[in-house]
Amino acid sequence: MKGRIAACVALTAGLAAAFVLVLSAPALAHEERTVGAYHFVVGWGDEPAYAGLKNSVQLILSTKAGKPVTNLGDSLKVEVIFGQQQMEVPFEPAFDPEEGFGTLGDYRAWLIPTAPGTYTFHLFGAIGKQKVDERFTSGPTTFDDISDPAEVEFPTKVPTGTELAGRLDREIPRVNAAIASARSQAEDRADTARTLGIVGIVIGAVGLLLAVVALIGSRAAAHRSTPAPLSVSSGGESRN
């Protein structure tokens, strides 16, 4: 009988411990790291994370003993790094102890990630007297990369603003090049037409000139070939 009671107690304690562990674990894919006296849980505020949608760098900060840190102030900052680009974003508490709102120790740095891929969060500054300089990079073993929203768009796949801007950046030079090419062709054709026109005018003028010369020449020839008035002799007198 005692053994059964002990088994029930052990099972209850085990289940309770498992329950507590499950509840206390981060709900999303986040990276956990203990640095000095503090425990960091870092990831995207909304996961899965998609490009073009408002999101945040989430930091759940607690002491090594598990007590939430609620008085971070503005001493700790985060630099979001993508490729060779970086941007500093301030942390804000996402809780209000007085109103009983949110989870204590949950800080957010708001941003809209616009490109899918791997992001790094560089946390720097200080928590109390402890200096902090830590980097958290997204990946399969840490927290989610930013995904292309097309994966979940339905029924129509809508390009992101970045994609539209990229398309415009690509199309504008092509359109300009096409316009320049068309303009060049049009100018070439206009030049050709102008040249042909000038040649036509010159040929016409020469033709006209030749016609005038020919006309004058023919008249002169006609004039020269006009027979002189016949002189008629009659009784030794001339009519002239």
């Binding site: 899918p116 399969p140 292309d148 994966e151 970045t162 950046d169």
Partner: protein, 656 residues
């Protein structure tokens, strides 16, 4: 000493045989799109690169859609600055599988080759006329008519040249036989050329006018002119026999041989003068040796003093000719086989095997020649004995030589071993897809090898959309998802940079058959782009038994791993509403319980859609579907209650 000489001659024989003239063929080297490629967008043209320059006026390239209609625009045209290429323009093609059939004539020697391959636009080219990666036989079988024609040309020219040389150097400036024999030899050569022309016209399938205006026709005309000059020389000898006439015949026959050498493969290989020169010497020395044997047979009928002296002189000249044949043969053989280290091609190619057959015949010829040289000739020239034995042996040699000319006629129609090696072997099994991002900044060509379910090698070629230059990227990641199979998740694969714009990786993300969505994420220093692609896994060959009974639907029994099988049929199998049945069985004949199953149908146009399955029994599923007339493919993926994944497919043509 004699044994040493025999051994040397035997070795010479081998290289001589290997060096018989061989012509070349314009075989397919590569194509764009490649055989078996799956393209996201229709290509503007098809470009085929051959191993030799094709003759555009006699070459044909057709692009056929799934209904067998020609879709290409205009004839095949040469590509500027690329003499080995032909291109044909395409209109804007809808999604589907396209088969490229080509037939071309080599500009070098007029030989005909043809083949076909398939590519897909938006649809994997499975089940097409040519399966992905399959290149059909591209060299037609040797034409008997052309073989006879070449035999006649070789025999005629050899006999003419040998007659002139023997007349001048063996028989004291006179012909060894009647001038009518010369006429018959010329007629044999001329008839051979005519037969070659007729065979070429039949093979190419154009009018004689078109053929003779082509580069292949020009070569035939040149050889005809050469034979015309020989005819004049024969007439001169007929009118005024003597040394001048024989010299004229020798020169004219040598000229005709030179024209024939130029029209062969030697004429296309650099340095041309050297290769043609070697080939020409080879033909002339064969003429002296083999042609001389025939004249010897005609000229030596008794054992008189002049005959005895002539036999000795011929033996000396034939020895020199044999040496020249050996040296030139070695040079040509090395070239045709593709180098000394490529001797295995003698056993691995049709060309090589035909050469070996010729080796056997030539070995017999050499044995007879050795008997004459070391037994009969000394007896005849020194003692005037064994003249009949000499004639019998020479007669056998001539008969064997006639057979060898015939084999040569076949040999010259086969692609040389070196060219067969230069042409691609059947393309490796793979799936190739291409695409670009929405912003049109990058183009991706993804090659998946072997493209089947399981481990695959992935190679992504990434280029700028406009310039085609390799695109700089910091990382390239492939993300996979199979529509309708969310339980598989979205596995990803990071690729490693191997060269500018080339990224590779290996993995098993393609865990089930189907059309996978693959997102290529290219991350650069200032941003990233995503290129969406569709990869249809290739189906592995499977064993299918087809049972047809009058009045009954066609029953397909597909063998599956683990002793399982799938029986499937379509009822009624005519256009309209149909029921597709899938039943899994164990080796014992009992039904195999299935935990879950999905099926797809691919329309004749190549579009794939899901087949909603209804469970009838633990291992029996049916799908009600409407089928149009045409060729359909049905795929099923199932998992047994024990968790074993199964997949199978079958094709059926729906007709009324």
């Amino acid at each position: 000493m004699r044994r040493i000489i025999v051994a040397v001659l035997g070795a010479a024989l081998l290289v001589v045989v290997a060096g018989q003239p061989a012509a070349a063929h314009a075989l397919l080297r590569r194509s764009e799109p490649a055989s078996g490629a799956l393209l996201q967008a229709a290509p503007p043209k098809v470009v085929i690169t051959f191993t030799e320059p094709p003759d555009p006026s006699l070459s044909i390239v057709h692009v056929l859609d799934e209904n067998g209609r020609d879709v290409e625009q205009g004839r095949a045209e040469p590509v500027g600055g690329a003499p080995l290429e032909l291109q044909v323009a395409l209109p804007s093609l809808p999604d589907g599988v396209y088969t490229v059939t080509w037939r071309t004539v080599s500009k070098t020697d007029g030989h005909v080759t043809g083949s076909s391959f398939a590519f897909g636009v938006g649809v994997a080219p499975t089940g097409a006329v040519a399966s992905p990666g399959t290149v059909l036989p591209s060299t037609p079988s040797p034409s008997p008519l052309a073989a006879v024609g070449r035999w006649g040309l070789y025999a005629g020219l050899a006999f003419l040249f040998g007659g002139a040389v023997l007349g001048l150097f063996v028989f004291g400036g006179r012909l060894a036989s009647s001038v009518w024999v010369l006429g018959a030899a010329w007629l044999t050569g001329a008839l051979g050329l005519v037969l070659m022309t007729v065979a070429e016209r039949w093979t190419v399938g154009v009018s004689y006018g078109t053929l003779l205006r082509s580069s292949a026709g020009e070569q035939l005309i040149r050889q005809g002119i050469g034979l015309g000059v020989v005819a004049i020389a024969v007439v001169v000898v007929a009118i005024r026999p003597g040394k001048p006439g024989l010299i004229l015949i020798g020169l004219a026959a040598a000229g005709a041989m030179l024209l024939h050498a130029q029209a062969g493969h030697a004429g296309s290989q650099s340095p041309v003068w050297f290769n043609v020169g070697v080939q020409w010497l080879h033909l002339m020395s064969v003429g002296v040796w083999v042609g001389g044997l025939a004249w010897l047979l005609l000229g030596v009928r008794s054992s008189g003093p002049s005959e005895r002296a002539g036999v000795g002189r011929f033996s000396f000249i034939a020895g020199i000719a044999l040496g020249v044949v050996a040296v030139t043969g070695v040079v040509r053989a090395i070239d045709e086989i593709g180098g000394v280290g490529a001797w295995r091609r003698l056993f691995e190619t049709s060309f090589g095997v035909t050469l070996l057959i010729k080796v056997g015949l030539f070995a017999g010829l050499m044995a007879l020649g050795a008997r004459n040289r070391y037994v009969n000739v000394p007896a005849v020239s020194e003692r005037g004995e064994r003249i009949r034995s000499l004639r019998r042996t020479v007669g056998a040699e001539v008969a064997l030589a006639v057979g060898i000319f015939g084999v040569t006629g076949v040999l010259t129609q086969l692609p040389p071993a070196a060219h067969v090696a230069a042409a691609p072997s059947p393309a490796p099994a793979q799936v190739v897809v291409t695409g670009s991002d929405f912003a049109t900044s990058a183009r991706v060509r993804l090659t998946v090898m072997p493209g089947t379910v399981g481990p695959n090698h992935f190679e992504a070629q990434i280029a700028d959309y406009d310039s085609g230059a390799p695109l700089q990227a910091g990382s390239v990641t492939l993300k996979f998802s199979l529509p309708g199979q969310s339980e598989l998740g979205t596995p990803s694969l990071d690729l490693s940079r191997k060269a500018p714009g080339v990224w590779m990786g290996e993995g098993t993300p393609l865990s089930m058959p189907g059309a996978w969505d693959v997102s290529v994420l290219i991350q650069g220093p200032a941003g990233s782009v995503v290129v969406p692609l569709k990869v249809q896994t290739r189906a592995l060959p499977q064993h299918v038994e087809v049972t047809r009974a009058p009045g009954q639907p066609t029953l397909y029994t597909i063998t599956l791993p683990g002793g399982l099988s799938l029986q499937t049929y379509i009822d009624p199998g005519t256009p309209g509403n149909n029921v597709v049945h899938f039943t899994f069985f164990q080796a014992s004949g009992d039904e195999q319980p299935i935990a879950r199953a999905t099926a797809t149908a691919t329309t004749p146009a190549g579009h794939t859609h899901d087949l909603p399955l209804i469970r009838f029994d633990p291992g029996h599923f049916v799908a009600n579907t409407h089928l149009d007339e045409g060729h359909w493919r049905f795929d099923i993926q199932a998992t047994t209650r024990e968790g074993v994944p199964l997949s199978a497919y079958f094709d059926q043509t729906i007709s009324s």
